[in-house]
């Protein structure tokens, strides 16, 4: 597994991953920089709230799909699947290594978002009182919440050659998130709304939960359950797939 992971890491196009993982979050933050506004802890929280909406409603879930497709790209180009699976490695290991790589890249992306936000906040003069615990919890919760989405995207990306088709599915599922997030009945149940909900700095005030910013039911049923279902679905599909090229 570790060796497989190493192979996966070697195959990634790091310049592109780096550009997306740092450039995207940076853009999300910088578009909202508003110098000369109020300072202090509340201002930090408010600014962070705006930044997370810009970042975690569409960009972060969609980026998970782009990275999932990117992780599968070396194999889709030029008959890589056949060559890779002809080697004495189990398909489960191959799939697992890809998922771990994907999760790692998404973690780095979220860390970059937090880092750029804090840096931009300091430069633009939000002053003292960086809400470290709020931002830290938000980054962790957002990452956990995006994992089921990433697993779904890896599921389709490992089978579909077309980047566009996989991303189209992702867009269709992610766009409704803003409406789901506003609804008290549907918000906790819609997986694609979870990054947005979990990353909000006001999330724990609303759900009253200290565990990853979401209600325990949402965490276990929607996020963990969703992840397990899409992981098993993806694994079964991948293990049984008829690899022709």
């Amino acid at each position: 597994m570790l060796r497989m992971l190493k192979v996966e890491l070697m195959k990634m196009q790091w310049w592109l991953v780096g550009l997306l993982a740092i450039g995207g979050p940076a853009l999300a933050v910088l578009l909202g920089v508003n110098p000369g506004a109020e300072t202090g802890a509340e201002a930090w929280k408010l600014a962070y709230g705006y930044a997370t909406v810009r970042y975690s409603w569409l960009f972060y879930p969609l980026l998970a799909g782009v990275f999932a497709a990117l992780v599968c790209r070396p194999e889709h180009v030029g008959g890589g699947w056949k060559q890779l699976l002809a080697l004495p490695v189990s398909r489960t290991t191959v799939y697992g290594a890809k998922l771990v790589t994907l999760a790692g890249i998404l973690a780095v992306t979220n860390l970059a978002f937090g880092a750029v936000f804090v840096a931009a906040g300091m430069v633009s003069g939000l002053g003292a009182g960086v809400p470290w615990s709020v931002i830290g919890m938000s980054m962790l919760a957002g990452w956990v919440a995006v994992l089921p989405l990433a697993a779904v995207q890896l599921w389709v990306s490992s089978r579909w050659k077309s980047f566009g088709a996989a991303l189209a599915l992702n867009v269709c599922l992610t766009l409704p998130a803003i409406f789901a997030a506003q609804s008290h009945e549907f918000g906790p149940w819609y997986p694609w709304a979870q990054p947005l909900l979990a990353m909000s700095p006001f999330a724990s005030d609303q759900t009253g939960s200290t565990a990853l910013n979401v209600a325990p039911m949402t965490l276990w049923v929607v996020i963990v359950g969703g992840f397990v279902v899409s992981l098993i679905g993806g694994l079964v599909t991948f293990a049984r797939a008829d690899v022709r090229q």
Partner: protein
């Protein structure tokens, strides 16, 4: 004598016409087996369904200002869906642009295609035209969706002029982005790059972005604001420039001209390996 001299020219122009039609037909054949066509219909259908769900969930609350006579039924519909409408249009443009050149990239059809006596620039323009037509179909269906929601929710007589504007103005404003995405998708083989650029687009339209209003990402928000007759598509604290309809159209036309010419020239001069 003059008739003799013009004969070859007539033949040449006839074959040029045939090849233009041939290119259009060829693209249609290549497109038929892909996800592009279902996506063109499913996109607007999805946004409309979203509207339906929204009215089912929060209908009473949303209809309150309308029933009190404060706003028109049209504003109720477009205020809720305007933002998702333009985001879907922007992301749809990126997806269509990527999918329409995907076959050529994946099977190295560029090489075979340009081994034949076809004009590269024309091939590019035909692709842009096809993508624009597909986006137009999507946009028109969006207006059908608005009309359906308005009839279903009994939001008063259908405002035909507003519905028509909601179909064509955001479409015109989305074309520069489509041209930009087609340029990227054609230039770069790895479709992750143009699509990643495409998913950045909604961030610009989501409020407080200070990029100039004529730029492709902002122009769509401006168009939707003009359609809704006020700041419907804007986010919190957004300073809108309030482009008028003619400003949107002229900014769009200029950008399309520049970007499509650039893309066609680039494809014409590229070395195909």
């Amino acid at each position: 004598m003059s008739r003799l001299a013009s004969a070859p020219r007539a033949v040449a122009s006839a074959s040029a016409r045939a090849s233009a039609i041939g290119l259009i037909a060829a693209d249609w054949r290549r497109m038929r087996g892909t996800w592009i066509l279902p996506l063109t219909v499913l996109g607007p259908l999805g946004v409309t369904l979203l509207g339906v769900i929204l009215f089912l969930l929060r209908g009473e609350y949303m209809l309150k200002p309308f029933l009190a006579g404060e706003v028109s039924g049209w504003r109720v519909a477009i205020d809720q869906l305007g933002m998702v409408h333009i985001f879907a249009l922007g992301l749809g443009a990126a997806l269509i642009a990527s999918m329409i050149v995907d076959v050529e990239h994946r099977s190295d059809i560029w090489k075979q295609l340009f081994g034949m006596p076809v004009s590269r620039a024309k091939t590019y323009v035909v692709k842009f035209a096809w993508a624009a037509v597909l986006l137009a179909v999507s946009s028109a269906l969006m207006s059908v969706g608005y009309a359906a929601i308005m009839v279903w929710q009994d939001l008063g007589p259908l405002p035909w002029a507003d519905l028509a504007r909601a179909a064509w103005l955001p479409w015109v404003a989305a074309l520069p982005l489509l041209a930009l995405q087609l340029l990227l998708s054609t230039a770069i083989k790895n479709q992750a790059v143009p699509l990643a650029a495409g998913i950045v687009a909604p961030m610009f339209g989501m409020g407080m972005s200070r990029i100039p209003a004529w730029m492709p990402w902002r122009l769509m928000t401006e168009a939707m604001t003009s359609v809704a007759g006020g700041a419907a598509a804007g986010g919190p604290g957004e300073a809108l420039t309030w482009y008028s309809q003619s400003q949107v159209v002229s900014a769009s036309g200029l950008s399309i001209l520049v970007l499509v010419t650039l893309g066609a020239a680039m494809l014409a001069h590229r070395e195909i390996r």
